[in-house]
């Protein structure tokens, strides 16, 4: 006590947390040292991982013979290769290392999936980046899955863009042909999420971890509200079970595939082996929900060696690009710019947005409740009824077998 006070006395700007080191950073308008800052971020993350750990009891044995040890939890991390998901990966790795260093077993297995929405096959560029990740975090398994193949089985016959040309085989990257940047970005994001959930099921994972910061969740809240998906917001922003997936999305996992992953088998025994019909519930968690994006950016630069080495620079400088036309902007980009400003001046307001959405009730999950054919979220029967034929918005006759779409997905795919 006296020691640290003495130390604090000799410092020009002591850290408010430890009072033992010089403060070099501002965290939530308080001067803190580098160590306390990284600890602060780690604590926020590990707290959430701890909550998830209580939710997920160890999974049943994958196979009766020679499966992996089954007393571990199994999570899937969606890696966008951006700052936040990379920071989450680093923190999860640190958590595992810490437990192992204490002589305990690893608290969870982690499979890292990057959904590649860019091209046909995972581009050599992406593979090179992933190689750097693999080298740095050898304990985890990394996969790159092209978005087009991940959602190839999704029944999208109700989408007008696809039902129009019945004869031709559908473009595997059909979403790229949508007329506006707002629609293309929206649909690619929805499909990526669906693909990650499907991967979590096929990899027998109990939870999907996403790197969303507080700021990203605030952006997501307002962006989805702006796209007419207010009804689904609690499902998207809160932690908890995802609505169950359409079975068409659940691709069988390649048995003993050459991707170096062992111990993942497709046939969960509790399903009685009927091919891929087992629909499991997946938890979706956002362990970085209490950290601001700007804090994660600082964090990425503070760890040794900095995470900035991993993160591809080509992906980040998109934000700096001058706005050419509003036609080329997505709603996500509008929100990104908006919250970058709000976060700078009013960080607590940003945090409050996600907290507020956390209080909304998840609705539409009841038995027999229909799901949107694209985003998979529960449909809002009452709202749709009320807005039927409303107000200059063209109504689309529900055709195809892909089922109905939610209001927001109708909007994004309607042109």
């Amino acid at each position: 006590m006296t020691e640290s006070n003495a130390a604090a006395g000799s410092l020009t700007r002591p850290c408010v947390k430890c009072r033992a080191q010089e403060a070099t950073l501002d965290s939530r308008s308080q001067p803190v040292c580098r160590d306390c800052f990284t600890k602060f971020i780690a604590t926020k993350c590990i707290k959430q991982v701890g909550i998830l750990g209580k939710e997920t009891r160890p999974p049943p044995p994958a196979t009766k013979t020679g499966g992996p040890p089954t007393d571990t939890r199994r999570y899937l991390l969606g890696l966008s290769l951006g700052v936040s998901s990379t920071a989450l990966l680093h923190l999860l790795n640190g958590n595992v290392e810490f437990q192992l260093s204490r002589g305990r077993s690893a608290p969870f297995d982690l499979i890292v999936i990057h959904i590649d929405a860019s091209g046909d096959d995972s581009s050599p560029d992406t593979e090179a980046i992933l190689a750097r990740y693999r080298a740095r975090y050898p304990r985890f398994t990394f996969h790159c899955v092209p978005l087009s193949s991940a959602v190839a089985n999704l029944d999208l016959s109700s989408l007008p863009i696809l039902s129009k040309e019945d004869e031709e085989p559908k473009d595997p990257h059909w979403w790229k042909t949508l007329p506006t940047a707002a629609s293309r970005t929206d649909v690619a994001r929805l499909l990526t999420r669906q693909a990650l959930l499907a991967q979590a099921v096929t990899h027998n994972c109990q939870a999907l971890l996403l790197g969303h910061s507080t700021t990203a969740l605030a952006e997501l809240t307002l962006a989805e509200a702006a796209k007419g998906r207010g009804f689904a917001l609690p499902w998207v922003v809160q932690d908890g079970f995802a609505p169950s997936l359409p079975s068409s999305l659940l691709l069988p996992v390649p048995h003993g595939g050459g991707d170096g992953e062992e111990g993942v088998t497709g046939d969960g025994e509790e399903g009685g082996g009927d091919d891929g019909e087992v629909i499991k519930e997946v938890l979706v968690y956002h362990p970085l929900r209490d950290a601001l994006r700007k804090e994660l950016v600082i964090y990425a630069g503070l760890v040794d060696p900095p995470l900035t080495e991993l993160i591809s620079n080509t992906r980040e400088n998109k934000d700096d690009r001058a706005v050419v036309s509003h036609k080329d902007l997505s709603i996500e980009e509008v929100m990104l710019r908006y919250f970058a400003e709000v976060e700078e001046s009013y960080p607590s307001v940003v945090a409050n947005v996600a907290r507020t959405t956390g209080k909304l009730v998840r609705a539409g999950e009841g038995p027999g409740g229909e799901r949107c054919g694209l985003c998979g979220m529960p449909l809002d029967e009452d709202g749709d009824q009320r807005w039927r034929g409303e107000l200059g918005i063209q109504e689309r006759s529900a055709a195809g077998t892909g089922g109905r779409l939610c209001y927001g997905c109708e909007r994004s795919t309607g042109g």
Binding site: R28, S29, T180, A181, A182, T221, L222, E224, A225, A226, K227, G228, R229, G230, F231, L233, P234, H326, K327, L329, S330, I331, V334, Y338, V342, S345, Y346, P347, S348, V349, A351, N352, V353, R355, T356, T357, K359, L360, V361, R362, A363, D380, D382, G383, Q385, R386, W387, R388, G389, E390, L391, G392, I393, Q394, Y407, G408, R411
Partner: protein
């Protein structure tokens, strides 16, 4: 390039690109479609009953002028059987209302509707000029905002009219949805999206027939119908959250024109997801009357319609939230922490500084929802804000007279 034909009638030349969905229409079809949509809103929400006496809150601005014009047209075309009256509020600011009141007077003649102008002096015993004289320029926005919020209701009550319609448009509602998401006020989010406000306890019901109409289309409608309106730039700057939300909505509209309507839809849906807030509205299946919400915190179309605190409320709220976080971090008293988290969970919103600009109203214990003990106006407190302010003013006047 051949002139494009109207997408609706396919005979006339398309002259108007609808802001709502970029459909290309001729002038006649645009006007017809605009009116049809308001009619659809009125009938699907069953806003009126035959023979109802309805006051149109008229400021002389574009929204209320278009509302008066459309309601007159629809009332005649579809035989609503409404008894329409124009109701104008005079704040008593010398020079400020002169032009707009002249506009309303001309509207009354043009639409052949009776006009009633009610002054703050009549309603409160104080004109805004007198308020400013007494308390100075600083903080008088709070008074004007609070008085204005109740003025239409009180004015209608004086005329024994039980229904006031206002010109709030889709942009206003969308703005309010985003604003309340930003300040984390779910209770207000829930209330602000409903088309009808005022519940069984309030004597005056309020509704917004232009709730789904785009501001830009209202301007176009006024232009093409050659309506006589007074274009005022609001003399007040909007409160920070509303200003921020407004800027965001303009950007979103540029990216995707339907965004405004989509936000309104989201707001309506989210209102049904607020714990403890009229879940009954989802039982309506779009058939029954729209659920009513108390009018206390109605949307303020123009920034001036809401009381606002001077200074930057976003900064103030940020500070308040940070203090809450700090307190939660330090909280050792488990009982208190638990009761706090319970409160924030469902029951009520924390009383943030935005809501009560002056210290006075903080001292009053909040009740769930009730009526002002003094004037009977709906209030979440024992004594409504207007009565609180009036009490202060009257004390002041007494002192001056002594």
């Amino acid at each position: 390039m051949a002139p494009a034909l109207c997408a609706n009638c396919k005979t006339e030349r398309a002259l108007i690109k609808r802001p709502k969905n970029h459909a290309k229409l001729c002038k006649a079809c645009f006007i017809a479609v605009f009116e049809d949509e308001v009619h659809h809103t009125i009938t699907s929400s069953q806003l009126f009953y035959p023979g109802e006496k309805v006051a149109i809150g008229a400021s002389g601005g574009k929204d209320s002028t278009v509302l008066a014009s459309v309601l007159k047209t629809l009332n005649e075309r579809h035989g609503y059987g409404l008894d329409l009256v124009l109701l104008s509020i005079d704040e008593g600011i010398k020079g400020y209302r002169d032009d707009s009141l002249e506009t309303v007077k001309r509207n009354a003649a043009q639409y052949d509707m009776p006009l009633k102008v009610v002054g703050y002096e009549e309603l409160y015993g104080w004109t805004m000029d007198q308020v400013v004289e007494t308390i100075g320029k600083k903080g008088n926005c709070t008074y004007c905002g609070v008085f204005r919020r109740q003025a239409l209701d009180r004015g209608a009550k004086m005329l024994e009219i039980k229904h006031v319609v206002t010109g709030h448009n889709a942009d206003d509602v969308a703005e309010t949805v985003l604003m309340n998401l930003l300040r984390g006020d779910l209770a207000r989010l829930s209330r602000s999206t409903s088309i009808v406000t005022g519940d069984s306890r309030s004597e005056v019901k309020r509704s917004k027939p232009l709730k789904y109409s785009y501001e830009k289309e209202i301007v176009l409608y006024a232009h093409h119908k050659k309506l006589d309106y007074f274009s005022t730039e609001c003399i007040y700057s909007p409160e920070a959250f509303r200003g921020s939300a407004r800027g965001l909505i303009k950007q979103l509209e540029r990216v995707r024109p339907t965004a405004i309507l989509d936000i309104v839809r989201s707001g309506e849906d989210m209102a049904r997801l607020v714990p403890g807030e009229s879940p009954s509205s989802c039982a309506c299946k779009g058939q029954k009357r729209a659920a009513m919400a108390p009018a206390e915190d109605d949307v303020g179309g123009c920034g001036s319609q809401n009381g606002r605190t001077p200074g930057n409320e976003m900064a103030a709220m940020d500070k308040q939230l940070r203090e809450n976080e700090a307190n939660e971090g330090l909280e050792i008293d488990v009982g208190k922490a638990m009761s706090e988290s319970k409160m924030s969970g469902s029951e009520k919103q924390r009383d943030l500084p935005i809501r009560s600009g002056n210290g006075a109203s903080k001292a009053v214990p909040r009740q769930v929802r009730g009526n002002c003990k003094r004037c009977g106006y709906m209030s979440s407190q024992d004594i409504c804000q207007a009565c609180m302010l009036l009490e202060g003013l009257n004390k002041n006047r007494a002192q001056i007279q002594i």
